[in-house]
Amino acid sequence: MGLIEIENLSVTFRAKGREVRAVEGVSLTVGERESYGLVGESGSGKSTILRAICGMAPVTGGQIRIGGEALRMPRGPGFSRRVQMVFQDPYASLHPRHTIDRTLSEPLAIHRIGGSDAKVVKALTDVGLPASFRFRYPHQLSGGQRQRVAIARALMLEPSILLLDEPTSALDASVQAEVLNLLTRLREERGLTFLMVSHDLAVIDHMCDRVLVMQHGRAVEELARDDLAAARMTTAYARSLFEASADRMLDPAKAP
């Protein structure tokens, strides 16, 4: 049994009398401590799945279960302690007028957890930031530092599942490497389960054990990591996505 089970999920947005089916009949299962990737173009519904898990998208069909239990609306405090999300743009996801200290201690205050002073300092050190950053504002940090704060915030309640929505696509290449390394280390240390969205196949390949290719709101093909690297995909769409990423392949001459 998987930790995250999504069965036949559909999400439909209604606006101006028009229906947009963002996700249609998608099923997937993520095991405990697994890292699972979602790839596809923008508009393929991959981020909508993450939002649906959090209760931030209008689910019109299917079921989402975490640890065997169907999720209820509203999600409630128990959900926040198990599942947290990291967003794409650290410039938009941190409150610009709150200090880092306030951003990090807010989840603790909401859940009435004490000892926030020590926990904030520890959270900062865990993501590789100096404790002196505590009383800074987001605009005083670089993009990579902000994303570290966003990760630290997501980990404040010690969740077991992290939903990662393009966590490095707003970052420079060298900063991306640092943040990916940080996520890998945190996953090992804390036994986290990742559900990660990216449009970059190389990032997904580096981080995930299995990947689901999506197009127009539907699941196209699920691939294990080895099959992805060996180009053993069966659908034309997954292949075209793979071929568009040809420059991200490991140079065969330099393979170990």
């Binding site: 173009e41 923008s42 508009g43 670089s142 993009g143 420079d172 290449a173 060298s174 900063v175 991306q176 490497a177 640092e178 990916l180 390394n181 890998t184 280390r185 449009h199 970059d200 196949l201 190389a202 990032v203 390949d205 580096h206 981080m207 992805l228 690297a229 060996a230 075209s240 996505l241 793979f242 568009a244 990423s245 420059d247 991200r248 392949m249 490991l250 140079d251 393979a255 170990p256």
Partner: protein
Amino acid sequence: MSLLEVQNLRVTFDTETGPVQAVRGVSFSLGRERLGIVGESGSGKTMTGRSVLRLIRPPGRIAADRMVFDGQDLMRASERDMRALRGKRIGMVMQDPKYSLNPVMTVGEQLTEGLRRRDRIRGAEARAKAVAALEAVQIRDPDRVMAAYPHELSGGMGQRVMIAMMLIPEPDLLIADEPTSALDVTVQAEVLSILDALVRDRGMGLIFISHDLRLVGRFCDRVLVMFKGRVVEELEARRLTEARHPYTRGLLNCLPRIGGPREPLPGLDRSGDWAKEGAA
């Protein structure tokens, strides 16, 4: 003769704590070709692109020993002369359609604004030109897009609208600042082939600014690698994998690769002598 020649370009910002140099002596020349400028945030690549159009506001200052576009000295040109160049002869595509298009004007109004104001072309004729430009960037239903507001378009469509807008006056030089970084790989490929066709068919010069080293290596003829306001390496794009400079090598190595090992990615080592303040 080269289309654009830049010698020892410097951009300085006067701040409370003293002058900050964003660009420190960049020189290059450009023919009718695709020149890539790569670097990470803060390397000065965007400032270099904007300097060519003198689009740097105070407290920023531009200085150069020489900056000549098609025989015209850009350092001596009056503001009036610059306005005649901007858009008409040198176009610029900005990074993010979300911030660069006017949110309260329809795409059609924005596309025809230049034609109406600058070229005094009105009504049906202006509209026909705008629709043709949208078709040139592979937009399938131009009539719907003409009537749409920017928020009703996807990122890829918005980016193509901005490229179409820059192409209407048929510039000789296009400066594209991260034109594809907001796009998916497949859309990215389409936008690049549009730009490629323009360079080939119209003999346009292109300055392609990007943080994506692999993309630039695949798409451009020549690449300048910038770090802290300086060009640290200039090379032919197809020789990118033979780059010698530690910064270029570091940038190439820190990217994950499909089928690569699962060990931590090598970080970028900035401890070498080349990264020190004032190093050449």
